[in-house]
Amino acid sequence: MKFKAFLTDNGVYLLEKRFLPALDKLGKTCHVYLTRDHAAFLHNLLNGHGLHSVAQFRREALFDDYRISSQNDDRIAFAVDVSLLNRAVRSAATVCCGSSSDGSNNRLQIKLVKKLPPNCTQPMPFLTFETRGYKSAVIHDVPISKPLSKTQVLELQSALETAQDLPQTLVQAPDLVQLQNFVDRMKYLGDSLNVFISKYGDLHVEVSATLISLGAEFRKLMVIGEKADAPAEDQNLSAQSRSSRSILRGDGQSVQVSVKHFAKSLQCHLAKPDCAFYGIAPQGSCLTVIFQFFIPGTHQTDKSISLHCRLPVLDPGSS
C-alpha cells in the first residue's frame, strides 16, 4: 500500500482556507478515501449516525504527481482527526511559502508512512507532509487510523455511491450566512426542525416547541429537477396552510431533522460554495444539501469539486 503526491498551490488553498475549516465543524474525525482518480473526505458514512458529508475532489484539483497503489484496486481509506490535519496543512503551507524566496523547489509532498513513535514497540501509520527547502526539510506527521480493510473500503464505496442519488426537486438556498444567523437563534427554542420543500420553489424551516413555533419561509427560489407553478389561489394563505395544501397535491414534501445537524450543515459555507441547494430524498429518507462550486470567474460548475451533506430525518415515514 503506497500513496505519495504533491499538493498543488490551489490544492493547499482549497484545503487550508476552505474545506478543512468547514469539515472541522462537521465532526472531529473523518475518513480520507483515496482512489486512482479521486480524493474524498467523508463524515459518518460508515456508522450511519449523525450528519453525513461527502467532499470529493478530482485528483488534479489537489495534487500533481499522484501515485497510489494498493492490493485493493488502488484504493486506500483511513480515519483522521480533521483539526490535526488542518493544523498540519496550515503549518506546512506556511513553511512552504516562507522558503520560496531562495528559489529552490519547495513543493509540499504528502505521503503515507509507517513510523515507530517514541516509547512504542509497534510502528504506527502516519500521513506525512514534507517540505524541502534549500537547507532544511520540515516534516509534519499526522497520526491516522490503521488503513481500512478491504470489506470496509467496499462498504465505504457503496455508501458513497448510494449517497450520490439526487432528490427529485432541489431548491436553491437563500443566503447561507443569513440563514445560519437565523438557525443559530432557533437553536434556543427547540431541538427539531421541520423542513418543507415544494416544486414551486418554496423552502420553509420551522421549529416548534410547546410554547412557541418559529419559522422562516422563502418563496420563488430557483428549482432544479421537478418543478411546478404555484397555484394562484394559494398566494395569500399562511405558510403552514400553503405547505399542507401542496403536500396533499403531491407537490411538496416535509421532513423533520435536528436543528443542530441543520446548523452544522450550514457551516459548509466556510468552504465558500457559490450556491447551495436543498432537497428531500425520495420517501423522505433524508434531507440533502448540495453545494455547488463554479470555475473561478465563470458560472460553470466546477466538476472537479463536490460537496454535499445528508441530514438524517428524526421521524421517518411521517412525511
Binding site: 432557533m186 410554547l211 418559529l214
Partner: protein, 303 residues
Amino acid sequence: MSASGTEEERPELVCQLEHVQGLVDALSAVRWKRHQDAVLELSEHGIVLVVQESGCLQAKLYLKRELFVRYDYNAQVRPRFGLSLGIFVECLNAFSVPAHSTPIQIQYPGPDMQLLLKSVDSMDASICAEIRTRIPETIAWDYNFEPAGTNPLTFTVKSAALKEAIEDLEWPGSSIHVILEPDPPSVTLRAEGHGDLQIDFLYYANSDLLVAFQCDHRVSVKYKYKFLKATTSNMPSSVIKENRGSKLSIGRGGMLKVQHLVSIAKPLASHSYVDSIGYQQPSRVAHIEFFVKPEESDDSTND
C-alpha cells in the same frame, strides 16, 4: 394583498414596528432572570408589559401607540394575557438581522389565542412565529406609587453612572441604603455587609452626573441589593450610548421608582449623542418603570 378572503373576525390588535431590535432591547431591560413570566395589557393607548417577582419588585414597560407605524386596536374589553418573557425575547431576536432594520407585525389573538409575529419586509422571504399565551393570574398589584409628602423626593442621574454605581456595590453585601440629603444636596448609596462601600453623588460637584435633584428633608431607605441590581442589570447599550438619564423617586412607605427611557427607533448615525433625557424624538422612546419595595417596610423615612 389584504387578509384572507373570508370575512373573519378582526383581531383585537394588529400593530407594526419598524425596528425589532429596539423592542428586543426594551424587553431585555426588564428581564433579570432566564425564566420569567410577563403579563401584557393591550389598550387603545398602547401595550404595557408587566413583570414582577416575589412581591418585592415590579417592572413595567410602556410601548405607546406612537411607537408603532401601524396600530389597529379593535377590542371592546382591554385584552390581558401572560407569556414567557424569555421565549418572547429569544423569538424576537430571531427576527433581528444584524445591521439591518427589520419591520415586524404583531397580532393578537391567533386562532388559538396565540401572539402572532411576522416579518413584513419582503414577500418572498418571511419569518413567522406563534407564541402560546396563557390566562394571567389575577393577583392584585400593590405597587401604587404615591408621593411621600407634599414635595416629591426625586433625583435624576445619568443611567450609565447609576448602573456603574450599582455594579460597584455588589461586593459589600445584600442591603443598600439610598440616602437623600437636602443640605448639601446629595444622594448617597451605601452598602454594608462583608465590608462598607459608599458612593456619593453631590449635586453641586457632580452636576454632569446628578442632573436633577429635589428633596426637602433627609431620607434613608434600605433596599435588597439583588432587586436594585435588577433595575439596571440589563440596561440596553443604546441607553448608555445616547447618554440618557434615569429618574429615581422615593414614595410613600419607601417605595422606590426607577424610570428609564429606551430608544425603540433605529439609531441614527448623525444623532447618536443626546444631551439629556427625552431629547431625541420623544415619541420613539419606550418608558420603563421599576418599583422596588424597601427591605423593612416600616423603617422607611426620617433620620
